[in-house]
């Protein structure tokens, strides 16, 4: 279709005939008071993108500082940079990223529902997120915070001279937005599936969302109470982590990691769900080992609550506790391995095409494999003693968080962008960006594995000169990675207005979301669909999906 015609100011391009959730009402009020899950997803998308670039900006400054062993900024500035990078990226980007945007948009569409179970609570969760983000950004502009995103006591409670309380409050508040999102997903997935959509016909993205929601519900309250206790202790100069009255600063670490280790899986499980969708769609194959992939999400969610102590092997934890946490940490690696093997096997005898989302997916599998395997170094007691607190840790969790979660997020965004906006983006640019990101990412973080084994501790504003070569490599990679992230931002914004019309199903993908027009109408489905086939039934062996 030839679409780029002179447009009337303030009007949509004259190519979308149907009324959809985007063009139904253009007023600002209709956006800020919307209870439509799709619009809330867009609100989240805009907010977390903003936070991503704020957090990314801090990362760029950090890498700049580390070009020189003596550093370019004052140590206290550097300490604030890595703290704010961590806080913003973990709590305000990675945790909400896929669930709050793609999850919010897709969960009702994928299960054939008109909305989430509690639309107003869904909107509330976005406002809570915004309030939490406001507190944290206030902390940033009013001097910053320098405790590290882990807020270890007694440094954070007593010794730090920075904005700990507003930041802790921001994290505390934003936790409730996660809890409400998780609550909404669990109830929606339980109660609002379309007729015929049994649990084992659900897309694996839904299973992943469900497992993630469990962690939201059971983990997030613990970080909330921990942040609350920390803030109060700082305010009153007395509290339960205070060694002066017999409190134990190590208890803080237990409570912190009880949430924050499962939180790692909050970040990666949704990515795994996206993977299952992308791999199947671009190889036109049923997922290999559906039940194994589905249940491995649950295994991960459950075991993830039992491994927090592996962050504390060098705190003086007893040998026995160390052994138990170590063996459980190895155990949690198995379900991830199962997923990787199944995704790879899904490609076998498929019909594989390499559009941008698929490139992200394939990149994800490789990088996640590396990230997962390097986790074994840290689950192993003997090597963890050497590697704990070094750049090896930094590299490892960035392979999971950036190589894994962010890759999956971008892959998912590229995959569902035509559904969300009704528009296509330039695929050549998208493939190019995927490649740039892949190269930039590896150049940034691979040298950090070596740096870590050489013994360079993390959170060092200045460092011995012998580590400079690897640090410069890493910083060079970071500049490439930064450019890589800007390219999609530009063409996504462009395509929102000028992209070619996508049509309901540009990829020829399976799944109820692709049976709706793009963008979908406010009520999602004119008639609630009745599902008669399994997920990813590209070969059409379990029957026909009927539309109303």
């Amino acid at each position: 279709m030839s679409t780029v015609i002179a447009e009337m100011p303030g009007h949509e391009l004259p190519t979308e005939s149907h009324v959809n959730y985007l063009n139904v009402d253009h007023s600002v009020k209709s956006w800020l008071l919307t209870v439509d899950h799709k619009r809330i997803a867009i609100l989240y998308l805009i907010s977390i993108t903003l936070m991503f670039f704020v957090g990314g900006f801090f990362a760029v400054l950090m890498r700049l500082n580390l070009i020189e062993p003596q550093g370019l900024v004052a140590p206290e500035t550097y300490n604030k940079l890595f703290t704010m990078h961590g806080v913003i990226m973990v709590f305000f980007f990675l945790v909400p990223s896929i669930p709050a945007t793609l999850g919010n948009f897709l969960v009702p569409l994928m299960i054939g529902a008109r909305d989430l179970a509690f639309p107003r609570i869904n909107l509330l969760s976005w406002y809570i997120y915004i309030i939490g983000a406001a507190f944290t950004l206030y902390a940033v502009i009013s001097g910053g915070v320098d405790t590290g995103w882990t807020f270890y006591t007694p440094y954070s409670s007593t010794f730090a001279h920075s904005q700990v309380i507003p930041t802790a409050l921001g994290v505390f508040i934003t936790g409730f937005s996660s809890i409400l999102t998780g609550l909404n997903f669990i109830v929606t997935i339980h109660k609002m599936r379309a007729p015929g959509l049994t649990w084992f016909r659900l897309p694996l993205f839904i299973w992943a969302m469900y497992a993630t929601s469990i962690i939201f519900i059971l983990g997030t309250p613990v970080i909330a109470i921990t942040m609350f206790l920390l803030g109060l202790e700082r305010l009153l100069h007395i509290g339960i982590f205070d060694p002066a009255i017999g409190g134990d600063p190590i208890l803080f670490q237990h409570m912190f990691w009880f949430y924050s280790h499962p939180a790692v899986y909050i970040m990666i499980l949704p990515g795994m769900g996206v993977m299952s969708e992308l791999i199947t769609a671009f190889s036109r194959k049923r997922i290999f080992g559906y039940t194994f992939v589905a249940f491995s999400s649950f295994a991960i969610a459950i075991i993830s609550f039992l491994v927090w102590g592996h962050h504390m092997f060098v705190t003086g934890q007893s040998v026995y506790a160390g052994l138990i946490f170590s063996v459980l940490s190895f155990l949690v690696a198995i379900p991830s391995a199962i997923k990787v093997f199944n995704w790879t096997a899904t490609l076998y005898k498929g019909s594989i095409s390499y559009e941008a989302p698929m490139l992200y997916a394939l990149g994800f599998i490789g990088l996640f494999t590396m990230g997962g395997l390097t986790g074994l170094f840290l689950a192993s007691l003997a090597t963890d003693v050497h590697l704990n607190g070094t750049y090896f840790i930094v590299a490892h969790f960035h392979y999971i968080m950036v190589g894994g979660a962010v890759m999956a997020y971008l892959g998912g965004l590229h995959f569902w962008w035509p559904k969300i906006t009704g528009r296509l983006y330039p695929d050549a640019w998208a493939r190019f960006a995927a490649l740039v990101i892949f190269v930039g990412f590896n150049l940034t973080f691979f040298p950090q594995f070596v740096l870590g084994y050489l013994g360079m501790p993390r959170r060092y504003a200045v460092y011995p000169g012998e580590f400079q070569v690897l640090n410069v490599m890493s910083s060079a990679g970071a500049s490439i990675l930064g450019v890589g992230y800007l390219i999609p931002l530009i063409y996504f914004i462009w395509s929102f207005k000028y992209g070619p019309i996508a049509g309901p199903n540009p990829w020829g993908a399976k799944g109820l979301e692709w049976t709706t027009p793009s963008p979908p109408p406010t009520e999602n489905f004119t008639e609630i669909p009745i599902v008669t086939e399994d997920a990813y039934d590209y070969a059409g062996t379990t029957g026909r999906r009927t539309h109303g």
Binding site: R114, L116, I217, L218, L229, L232, I245, M255
Partner: protein, 232 residues
């Protein structure tokens, strides 16, 4: 967009995203249970920390506990259980199709009992604690009489104020919600078909009550002052 599914509409309170009234009620109740699971973990974190320290500093916790006035605690326990009863009666009267005014009466009784609880908590207990220098961060004084274990007594009081404060906060949040529900009941919004909001606020109130049932022995009774055995 209020009524995309008018052909399904069975009740004024029906929401468009649901297929029917049953699904809506199921979802609401289930959602409340999930929310309570979250609440359990929220309190669970601090209960876990309490257990750790109680095992470490047995004697100090005993001293701290014995400094609390068990009369007030016990009276408040009765008050709160009574408020749970009136809350249950409010839901029951809706289920039985009684008039809105009956529901309102029970709801207001619940609020009243909740207020009494808070009044006792703040004006008697916390105020006394303040005058006796037992509030950590507000001029806490370790008394010589506590002897060796005295140094850890503030820890007990940290827990006492965090836990009862958090519990009171839940009640302070609950009371306005009950009042909103009472207004809805006054307008005869609830009947034997639709009473989900009433039921949900009831679940919440009962949960807050149950938390207190755990807090009372953990804070007021662990001192063992009222047991003749264990005379340390």
């Amino acid at each position: 967009m209020a009524d995309m599914a008018t052909h399904h509409a069975q009740h004024d309170a029906f929401k468009h995203q649901f297929e029917d009234m049953d699904q809506q009620r199921d979802a609401g109740t289930f959602g409340m249970w999930v929310f309570l699971a979250q609440e359990i973990m929220f309190f669970g974190g601090i209960f876990g920390a309490y257990i750790v320290y109680r095992l470490l500093y047995h004697d100090s916790f005993e001293i701290g506990s014995n400094l609390l006035d068990v009369k007030f605690g016990a009276a408040n326990t009765v008050v709160l259980i009574a408020s749970s009863l009136t809350m249950a009666m409010a839901i029951h009267s809706a289920q039985a199709g009684k008039k809105g005014k009956t529901q309102v009466m029970y709801l207001l009784l619940t609020v009243l009992l909740g207020m009494i609880f808070l009044a006792v908590k703040f004006t008697f207990e916390w105020h006394n604690d303040y005058t006796e220098h037992l509030i950590p961060g507000f001029g806490f004084v370790i008394r010589d009489a506590w002897g060796a274990a005295g140094v850890h007594v503030p820890l007990f009081f940290c827990f006492y104020f965090f836990m009862t404060g958090l519990h009171a906060l839940h009640m302070i949040v609950g009371i306005p919600i009950i009042l909103v529900i009472a207004v809805m009941a006054w307008r005869n919004r609830f009947d034997e078909v639709y009473y989900a909001p009433l039921e949900m606020v009831g679940l919440y109130w009962h949960f807050v009550d149950i938390v207190w049932i755990f807090l009372f022995p953990l804070l007021y009774l662990v001192g063992g002052r009222y047991l003749s055995i264990g005379g340390h």
